[in-house]
């Protein structure tokens, strides 16, 4: 049994007076595919944003790849992490956003190669060769020279996935990556993610409202409500035989709203 790649320990997060996460703890094992589900405002996206260091934390500890994410040792004492420490830790983690967040002034290929060239000092030729491989993988090799504004939503999201992969993170975070897409474009993005899940040993955390996809994709499903894990387990159990009433109600509403399970 190896050590967890992510350990969340007694995590608190407040926005002003609003407590979003309250004493949350869970571990993620290396290579695990985790789906975080639950109603809006339950704190799922906040967890991903905290792991990507896009938020600050109000209390608790997070360990990533055996090191504290938001804390560091200085003079034998634990102090809040500085920018240099965060920079080092971010190298382990990649994220794909709901609204793609591509760089609009860069071509598709440049979107992918920018960070490897700047942060890892990769030679352009090597970064571009790798970028083309990734575009091949997401089925967009012919769009390498296109600008993001010329792509459909599904294509943009696939480029965003390639961009995150280019840095070869050990952990990938997917934040409602299909929520902003037209229904007929969802499938192409999910297909890429399925391939990714089956072909790599990357650890993946997925926040989604696509229950059918979560079922197929995840090794473990966490059901969140009001910043707490109400229930967790293998997808077979959570989706077909949830024990908590809150989970049952949520899944019933989701199905009624037309989402597949």
């Amino acid at each position: 049994m190896s050590a967890p790649i992510i350990r969340i320990d007694n995590l608190d997060k407040s926005f002003g007076t609003l407590k979003v996460l309250n004493g949350l703890s869970f571990d993620v094992m290396p290579g695990e595919k985790l789906a975080l589900i639950g109603p809006s405002g339950s704190g799922k996206t906040t967890i991903l944003r905290i792991l990507m260091t896009l938020e600050t934390i109000s209390g608790g500890h997070i360990e990533v790849c055996g090191e504290q994410l938001y804390h560091m040792q200085k003079g034998g004492r634990e102090v809040p992490a500085d920018e240099a420490h965060l920079h080092k830790m971010r190298a382990h983690i990649g994220m794909v956003f709901q609204h793609f967040n591509l760089f609009p002034h860069k071509s598709v290929l440049d979107n992918i190669t920018l960070a490897p060239i700047l942060t890892k000092g990769e030679p352009r030729a090597k970064a571009e060769a790798r970028g083309m491989e990734l575009l091949e993988m997401v089925g967009l090799a012919d769009k390498a020279r296109a600008m993001p504004s010329q792509l459909s939503g599904g294509q943009k999201q696939r480029v965003a996935i390639a961009r995150a992969l280019a840095l070869q993170p050990r952990i990938m975070l997917f934040d409602e990556v299909t929520s902003a897409l037209d229904p007929e474009l969802v499938e192409e993005v999910l297909l890429v993610m399925k391939r990714l899940a089956s072909e790599t040993d990357m650890t993946m955390l997925l926040v989604t409202h696509e229950m059918g996809f979560a079922h197929e994709f995840a090794d473990r499903v966490l059901f969140f409500d009001k910043g707490h894990i109400v229930e967790q387990g293998p997808p077979g159990q959570i989706f077909t035989n949830p024990t908590h009433e809150r989970t049952q109600t949520f899944l019933r509403k989701i199905i009624a709203a037309g989402h597949r399970v």
Partner: protein, 218 residues
């Protein structure tokens, strides 16, 4: 009437001074705009305070007074400048203060999710600004920069007050010597107009260049 050629060349000499002041003044203004504009969005309070002080001071006092200070008062502190240097400095610092607010506004209007994408791909603060934020902010700055440059061009006329023979000054000379008011003033009217036309054309061409591929974004 035979001397009109000579008078015209006098005005053209003045035009050269005006162009020199505009180009050098704009260059200084551009540098100041970026230095102070970036200072305004810095995470260091000291830099923010310095930038704010500079901007408020130069926007809050008259260009005439600033010019007099640079040319007549600074020598008492041991800095003696030529009239051209003083003119460039006063114009550049004055217009740079306006430009700084343009830079700041444009930087702040780049959507937050662009910053987040930069963090997600682990760019440093400097790389974020240099490769992602500024390239997107620049197209937003250009139209106002064009206005500022034209304002600067027209403000160059104040330098005649510190004995610099710019275009307006030379027109006055020609008027005094010939007694004709119409000819010299129509001439400089046309010349100022052509110069500002050149600026706005230049800015438009630049805009077209930096916004290439950005269609559909804004």
């Amino acid at each position: 009437m035979g001397d009109w050629g000579g008078y015209l060349s006098l005005i053209l000499q003045g035009a050269l001074v005006t162009i020199k002041l505009t180009v050098l003044g704009s260059a200084l203004a551009l540098v100041m705009a970026f230095v102070a504009g970036l200072g305004r969005v810095s995470r260091f309070a000291v830099l923010r305070a310095l930038a704010t002080t500079y901007i408020e001071f130069f926007r809050g006092t008259s260009i005439f007074v600033q010019l007099f200070w640079v040319y007549f008062v600074l020598p008492f502190a041991g800095f003696t400048l030529t009239p051209l240097q003083a003119g460039v400095m006063a114009l550049g610092l004055n217009v740079g203060a306006y430009g700084a607010e343009v830079v700041r506004g444009a930087i702040l209007s780049v959507p937050r999710d662009q910053y987040e994408a930069c963090i997600a791909v682990n760019l440093t603060r400097f790389q974020r600004m240099r490769h992602v934020i500024l390239p997107q902010a620049l197209p937003l700055m250009l139209p106002t920069f064009g206005n500022n440059a034209i304002e600067l061009l027209k403000a160059t006329a104040v330098v005649s007050l510190i004995s610099l023979s710019d275009m307006t000054f030379q027109a006055q000379v020609v008027r005094a010597q010939t007694g004709s008011t119409m000819v010299p003033f129509v001439t400089i009217l046309v010349l100022y107009f052509l110069m500002s036309l050149a600026i706005s054309r230049g800015i438009r061409a630049l805009e077209a260049r930096v916004t290439r591929g950005l269609d559909g974004v804004r």
